[in-house]
Each structure stands twice: as C-alpha cells, then as structure tokens.
C-alpha cells in the first residue's frame, strides 16, 4: 500500500519565525508532525524537548506523561501508538541504554514511533552537559537480534524542526522506530527557526487498514513489505507479540517463520534505502578528498573544508542526514573516484568504520576522532584533510 499524503493539523503548527534552541525546535517538529503523546523521563541535555511538549500539548489535545524511568517511557509511548496516537520519547545516553529492549519491541511489532537521543559524552554518566556523537552504533545495534532502523542526524535547530517531521513520516511509512540522533550542541544552540504554514507541511498518515475485520491480517503484507495497522478498540481483535509471529500475529517459533519475518523486517528498510538516505553534498565532482560528517561536527568540518579549498585542495563535502540505513551505495560510488575519505566525529571511531567498509579498499579512510565534551577544532580536521590529499590511491 502506497502511503497517502496529507498536510499538518494547523493547531499543532506554530507558523512563523522563531529564535529557539534545537530541543525546542524538535518539540515543535513533533507537534507539527502530529505527535500528540510523549512519555519521558528527565535527563540532561534532552529534557527541554518534553518540558516544552508538556506546556504545549494540553492546548492542542494530547498527553504528556512523565514516567518512573526510561524503561517505562519507551514502552508507554508504544501503548499510545496502538491506542491511535503518534508518539515519541526523548532521552540521552544512559536513558537511551535503558530503552534498547523496547527499540527491539517496536521493530518486532512494527510500531511506528520516534526515539529522540540528544547525545552526550559517555560511557556511563560521562559528561551530562557536554556533547558527543558516540551513540551512533548503539542506535543501530543496541537491541538484540537482527534488525534495521532509521536514524537521522540534524545539524541545526532548523533541522531539528524539519527532520523531526521527516522522522515521524518515515516511522509511519515503514512502521519502524526512527532514531533522532541530536547532540548536546545542536540541542542547546539557539538559532532562527522558520516554521512554515501547516498546509506546506507534508504528513505521512498511519497505514491504517480499511479492510473488514474478516479480511484483516495484522502482519500480512503485499508489495513493499509493510503491513497495515489497526488500533485497539476498533473491533479487529488483533494480537501483538514480541515473539516470532506469523501473518495473523500469532506466535510461531519455527525457523521458517523466523526467517520470513526477520528478513521482511530487514528488507522493508534496505529495499527503500535509496529513498531513505538523505545527504547534503558539495563539490564532490573532481574531489580528491571527501569529508564525511554529520550533526554538529559537519558545521566544524565546513570551516576546515573551506580552509582546505583556500589552500588549493580539491575537497568535497558529504553530510549524512540519514545515518541509518548507511548510504553504502553513495560511498561506494565515490570511493571509485576519490583518493580518500576524512571522517570527523565526536567519538573514537564509529561511522568511519562504515565508510571504510563501503569504500572497500577503493579509497583510503581517515578518522578524526574526538572523545566528546566539546567539538573539534577546525584545524585538527584540516590537518587530516591535508594529509589525506597527499596519499596515493592504494
């Protein structure tokens, strides 16, 4: 079933030009996307998202509940989704760790929802008030079992607004949890955010079934591998389980059913990767070196890239807006044409390994790592760009 299109409910949309931080912009994005339910647990540096939601949502008809912990928040929102709401939760590192089991539950039960992670330094309590980008692999692999999710990385308050809407739309289109991977700097920086009129905001509605009770198969699919959904209380008497299940939603713990289900959950995302993978590119044509970055680091990298160009180097920019599914094809195609990739990130090496894997030996890959707590100095990235541009193709 192809998702129908509609536009945002104007009551959730604060049309106008605002001067707000990324956390607040994320909240406005969620409201514009139609989210009317959030469950959360306070954690720095993400709490402002739900604080604003708690203030705004009673005026637009919805609910915020502060739960007793992140384990609860991450499943309460899923109950709300099956009750008919668009729902999300917001957290940071330690809370994100606690939510992992329920990311798996959302994948397995195909519950469309959004998990916002405003990344801070880790491991453990780490740096509660300072940035990192070290949850990128956790977002991809943190829950047990084989699965695919979608993860987006905004690099400005404006994108916190715009891409939160995209996150909800993708969640509905693919019936998958979408990770919204902010970082402390993006969350707390204040910039101009333009919120368009509601009728200019495209919203992907729920894939609600129109089938009769008799004809409805809760996990039956056709074409794109995404089943239609029903909500509790509509008379469908459907069953939802985290156990391996058949098309009726009934537990069936046999290898053939496991194989069919897990492969479908994976392929519904992988087959649409080209459409899901968003990126911003600049001067890739003829580049010797391509800087691959995302989130706040992309803004520091921009400075380094411009300095390198001033030095006469041919440097391209590839900013990942979608981190997962990883834009493998894009990197592979570039790798055939460039000498090297430079990957700065606020961790000791996470997405860089994906770049290296996709490059598959056709181009060299250089990490510019940073343990978090601040952002890179542009000159540190520049140094590696200069080094990389001297390298010979292997």
């Amino acid at each position: 079933m192809k998702a129908d299109r509609c536009t945002a409910d104007p009551r959730g949309v604060l049309t106008g030009t605002h001067f707000i931080d990324g956390d607040h912009a994320c909240c406005e994005g969620a409201l514009a996307a139609g989210a009317r339910f959030a469950a959360g647990y306070p954690i720095t540096p993400s709490t402002e998202v739900v604080e604003r939601f708690a203030a705004r949502v009673p005026k637009v008809g919805g609910t915020f509940i502060q739960m007793e912990d992140e384990l609860a928040a991450s499943i309460t929102l899923q109950g709300a989704v099956w009750g008919g709401a668009k729902a999300f939760t917001v957290t940071s590192g330690p809370g994100f760790s606690l939510m992992m089991e329920h990311i798996g539950y959302a994948v397995m039960t195909e519950t469309p929802c959004v998990f916002v992670d405003v990344q801070r330094g880790g491991p453990s309590t780490g740096l509660p008030t300072l940035p990192a980008q070290a949850d990128m692999m956790q977002a991809r692999w943190g829950s047990h079992g084989d699965y695919e999710i979608i993860a987006l990385c905004p690099n400005s308050p404006q994108e916190c607004f715009d891409l939160t809407i995209t996150a909800f739309n993708l969640a509905e289109e693919f019936r998958v949890p979408v990770m919204f991977m902010m970082d402390e700097v993006v969350g707390h920086m204040t910039e101009k955010v333009v919120i368009p009129p509601a009728d200019e905001i495209e919203i992907t509605p729920r894939r609600h079934t129109r089938k009769s009770v008799e004809d409805y198969l809760p996990y039956g699919t056709n074409g794109d591998g995404v089943p239609e959904m029903a909500h509790a209380g509509e008379g469908y008497n459907f069953h939802v389980t985290g156990l391996t299940h058949d098309e009726r939603g009934y537990p069936n713990m046999t290898p053939p059913v496991q194989d069919k289900l897990v492969r479908r959950l994976q392929s519904k995302i992988r087959n649409a990767a080209d459409r899901i993978c968003l990126f911003e590119e600049e001067q890739l044509e003829g580049a010797d070196v391509v800087v691959v970055s995302y989130g706040i680091t992309s803004r520091v990298a921009q400075r380094a890239i411009e300095s390198a160009r001033e030095m006469g180097l041919r440097v391209g920019k590839l900013r990942l807006i979608t981190a997962w599914p990883f834009p493998e094809k894009k990197i592979r195609n570039l790798a055939a044409k460039v000498k090297a990739f430079v990957v700065p990130e606020l961790n000791l090496g996470q997405m860089v390994h994906e770049v290296q894997r996709a490059a598959d030996g056709q181009a060299r890959t250089f990490a510019v790592s940073h343990a978090g707590g601040g952002v890179h100095k542009p000159e540190d990235i520049l140094k590696v760009i200069v080094e990389a541009s001297k390298c010979r193709i292997v």
């Binding site: 129908d4 609910t63 089991e101």
Partner: protein, 311 residues
C-alpha cells in the same frame, strides 16, 4: 443417558469460547496449572458483566501468565518482561474509552515490573490488573520470585529461600490502589465476581489469584499434585473481606487470607489530569476527545480523503 444428549453436550462447546482464540488451542500450560482456570473466571466475568468486548484491550508481560494475551479473542498485547503496566498506561491515555486489563504473573508484575506496579497504583491509572501468583518463576524453570514464601525449595534456592517475600495486596494498597482482592484458583466464582466488580471501578484495581505450579513449585516442595493443592486452598483459605492487607502475608503451607480487602474511591489519573489542565488553562485547554472530533471535522472539510487517519 441417550445418545442424542451426548451429542448435544459435545456440540455445545465451551461456554467461554466466544472470549477465546480457539484456533490457538491447545495452550502451553501444564496439566494442573491454575492459569487456565483464572482465564475461565475472567471470561465468565466478561460475559456476566456484559462488557463491550470491542472496547476491551488486554495487555500481558512475559512468563506463563504472560501468554494469556495470546489466547483471548480481544485486542491483546504480549509486551516485554515487566512492562505490561506502562504499555497499558500509554494505551489507556491515548484512548481513554478503552477498558484496559493487565493480565500477568507475580514475577513479571512485582519483580522486574515492580516499579511500574507501584507507580501505576500511585497515579491511580484506570487499569484492571489481574496477577496470577504461582509463587515462582515458572516459564524459566522454577526460580525464586519476590513472592516465594520463606524456606521454599526453588531451582535457585536449592537449600531453601530465606528472603522475605512480598505481600502484594499490602504493597498495592499502600501504593494507592482503589480495589484490592485476593482469591485462589479454588475460588472461581468469587474471582469472577471480583473481576466484574473491578470493571465497575474507575482507577487502579488489583486482583491477586494464588495459583498452583504443580510442575515446579508443588513438586519441588513436596506439596502434592494439583488436586492436593486444591484441597489445601479449600481447607486453608479464610475469606476475610475487609481484612487489613498487612495480615495477608503468605507462607508455604499456612492460612491463605482471601477476600476483597480494599474498595475505595479517589479520582483516577485521567480525571485529575483533565481537572488540573482545565483549572490552569481555562478555555485554552483542548481535551483529547474534543481534539478527535475537531480532527474528524477538519478531515471532512479540508481533506480529499475523509476516511484517512491523519493527525
């Protein structure tokens, strides 16, 4: 007895078939297990109290009792271990018109889910919680639970337990539940009646059902088979409605205090929330149901696809 009568009885089926996913039978529970008995009482309560099954949702956690969700012909959710209550909380808040039942075991609700149990009772979320207490983790092979009575032999306390156990009615009363009852699987009618009563309450209701696990608890503790356990329940249960829950603790072979312990009223979470918002926000407050109506109107007037679920 004539042949025709035999035929008639056979064709009659189970009186609670309407509530069951008969296409999923046989179930996984062991012979002598009490969970099926509780489901029978639950189904009878639904039929007797003429609950609208279309607006009833059932949420289970993980474990033997967690499988109840898979056997009832309702909108049913088999969630993660310990998290049936928070899932049910989201379901209820997103659609306050739903009757939401949480049906799970003692380990699921009071150990891994213990935090959610007390907070849901404190908030007085409008949920009906049925806790089948078999005094053990049964699905995983008979390990000690927070409810296992002292000196019991379990697979993880092979020399006998020594931790004090939870008295669940006392716990949930202290946390704020508006309705608290306990029965055993011997008390099938009383249990059904309590479930029916709970449906009439608005707020957090908790019904504990003491249930045998002949495979793992009774056997290891040399307490006989399922029939012996029924005799024990019959002989040692004392019906004490209104009994202080502090006196309702369980031992391995002692008295079992049963009955309706708590039946009180206080505003539930949804009522408190709406009142607070209305007071603080006045006309600015948009109730969720109002929003639904507005949205449907919005869709009718401004959208080409009136059937579309679009918020």
């Amino acid at each position: 007895m004539s042949d025709s009568l035999v035929t008639e009885i056979t064709n009659a089926g189970n009186p609670v078939d309407a509530i069951l996913r008969t296409d999923r039978m046989p179930h996984i529970w062991c012979p002598g297990c009490g969970i099926g008995t509780t489901v029978n009482s639950f189904a009878r309560a639904l039929i007797d109290s003429k609950i609208d099954l279309g607006s009833l949702a059932l949420v289970s956690g993980i474990g033997c009792t967690g499988r109840v969700a898979g056997y009832v012909k309702l909108d049913s959710f088999h969630t993660t271990h310990g998290r049936a209550i928070p899932f049910a909380t989201g379901l209820k808040l997103a659609n306050p018109n739903l009757n939401v039942v949480v049906y799970s075991g003692d380990g699921d609700l009071s150990a891994i889910g213990g935090n959610h149990l007390i907070h849901a009772a404190r908030r007085n979320i409008d949920l009906k919680v049925i806790c089948v207490n078999n005094l053990i983790y049964a699905m995983t092979g008979g390990q000690t639970a927070p409810t296992t009575p002292g000196h019991s032999i379990t697979s993880t306390n092979p020399y006998g337990t020594f931790e004090p156990s939870f008295n669940l009615p006392h716990l949930v009363e202290a946390a704020g539940a508006v309705y608290v009852a306990r029965w055993t699987t011997f008390h099938v009618r009383q249990l059904a009646r309590s479930i029916s009563e709970a449906f009439k309450k608005k707020g957090f209701s908790f019904i504990e059902v003491i249930s045998p696990c002949p495979t793992l608890y009774q056997r290891r503790n040399k307490l006989g088979d399922a029939l012996d356990t029924m005799k024990y329940y019959k002989e040692k249960s004392k019906v004490r409605n209104g009994s202080p829950t502090s006196e309702a603790g369980l031992t391995m072979t002692g008295e079992i205090i049963v009955g309706k312990f708590v039946d009180r009223d206080r505003p539930d979470y949804g009522t408190m929330m709406r009142a607070q918002y209305a007071e603080a926000l006045g006309d600015e407050y948009v109730e969720q149901d109002q929003r639904e109506q507005d949205r449907m109107e919005h869709d009718r007037t401004e959208n080409d696809q009136p059937e579309m679920v679009c918020s």
